[in-house]
């Protein structure tokens, strides 16, 4: 389905690419014929057809298939969500480097355009697939399925899914991930959770990033944590600094526990 014009058929605007080396120039074919074979007759009797169907049923079905596929191979997929610039890619670079040989990791990068993040991840030595959503503002279960096929992560490994930087839309789309991690940085404003409640309510873990900058910014940590707790009383929260390393041991421990759960399932 085309996110640009809404025509049906192939998901023409989403591009899934295994990033390995320099970016080739590719032609962007984006033609969509729109036939109009039907006439509109008005003042015509109608009949009501009951459908009673969940709008996101198709996505949720694909998400369930992804979850099953991940569980079969004991692969843990972590869906990372945040606003743009919260430090997701820096956190991933650091995490992959810190985990080193202890843990096989690979990454699915979601961005509207460019391979910039994928190339940063690639330079850590990790395998990475870039999904460019074009006009799309979030990843969905079908994109994750395509990304996993391209990535082919080994059994028992860890896959990070870096969603499109956006605190609104990604919250609504189940990818079939093992867990959701929402990142908020101290440069964003402590009231973010109240402004974007849907996102924080879906989180399994919230990382409060860039805490090394707390002396320089006006950020009320207690208020932020209280707002998150109100939205989701049982959510785990960890303060971290992806650049300085604060709190990353706890983050690694959380990942290890999640991975263990995937293997035991």
């Amino acid at each position: 389905m085309c996110s640009t014009c809404g025509c049906s058929g192939e998901d023409a605007s989403t591009r899934v690419t295994l990033v390995d080396g320099p970016q080739p120039v590719h032609a962007h074919d984006h033609e969509h014929p729109h036939p109009h074979p039907h006439e509109h007759e008005h003042d015509h009797p109608t009949r009501t057809v009951l459908l009673e169907q969940d709008i996101l049923a198709k996505n949720d079905l694909l998400a369930a298939a992804n979850r099953h596929r991940l569980a079969e191979h004991a692969v843990t997929a972590i869906n990372l969500m945040s606003s743009p610039g919260s430090g997701k890619t820096t956190l991933l670079e650091r995490t992959i480097t810190d985990l080193g040989d202890r843990r096989e990791t690979s990454v699915i990068e979601g961005d509207q355009e460019t391979w910039l993040d994928a190339q940063r991840i690639r330079s850590t030595g990790s395998k990475v697939v870039q999904i460019n959503t074009g006009a799309g503002c979030h990843l969905d279960a079908e994109m994750l399925a395509r990304g996993l096929t391209e990535l082919a992560p080994p059994d028992g490994s860890l896959v990070f899914v870096e969603n499109v930087g956006n605190l609104v839309c990604p919250a609504l789309f189940d990818l079939g991930e093992s867990a959701r991690v929402v990142i908020i940085s101290v440069t964003e404003g402590a009231d973010k959770p109240a402004k974007y409640p849907y996102m924080f309510r879906t989180a399994d873990l919230v990382l409060l990033n860039k805490i090394d900058l707390l002396p320089y910014v006006d950020f009320d940590v207690d208020l932020c944590l209280d707002l998150i707790h109100r939205l989701k009383p049982d959510v785990e929260m960890l303060p971290v600094s992806a650049t300085r390393g604060d709190g990353l041991d706890a983050w690694h421990e959380w990942l290890a526990n999640r991975s263990e759960a995937a293997v035991l399932r």
């Binding site: 389905m1 996110s3 014009c5 809404g6 025509c7 049906s8 729109h34 036939p35 109009h36 074979p37 039907h38 509109h40 007759e41 015509h44 009797p45 109608t46 009949r47 009501t48 057809v49 009951l50 459908l51 009673e52 169907q53 969940d54 709008i55 996101l56 049923a57 198709k58 996505n59 006009a135 799309g136 503002c137 979030h138 969905d140 609104v168 839309c169 919250a171 609504l172 789309f173 109240a194 409640p197 849907y198 309510r201 707002l227 707790h229 109100r230 939205l231 989701k232 009383p233």
Partner: protein
């Protein structure tokens, strides 16, 4: 705007179920706690429906109010605020209604 993807799902699901129509009207249920903006749905519907059997169809949207049950004070109450808190201060709630995202029916010509 995730509403575009939501509308694409709606149009796909209807075309899959009833073929090329033509469809005179679509009835949706979009709960007030669903995180979906009905004005955006209406805006996108005209664009996505173009060239399909839903082109020109009327869009009827029911918006059920939110209801929640508080596990602490065991009270059921109406709730339309996405920051979900009971009057007793607890956030430990079961959402009973308001998160619906459903295609209810279509009127086929």
């Amino acid at each position: 705007m995730h509403e575009l993807a939501i509308v694409e799902s709606i149009v796909d699901a209807i075309v899959e179920k009833i073929g090329d129509g033509p469809v005179a009207a679509v009835r949706l249920e979009i709960g007030r706690l669903s995180g979906v903006v009905t004005d955006s749905i209406r805006f996108c519907f005209g664009i996505v429906a173009a060239g399909t059997g839903l082109d020109g169809a009327r869009l009827d949207i029911d918006e059920p109010s939110g209801r929640a049950y508080c596990r602490d004070c065991r009270r059921e109450f109406a709730l339309d605020d996405p920051i979900m808190l009971c009057d007793c201060g607890s956030a430990d709630l079961d959402i009973l209604a308001g998160q619906e995202l459903r295609i209810v029916s279509v009127e086929v010509r």
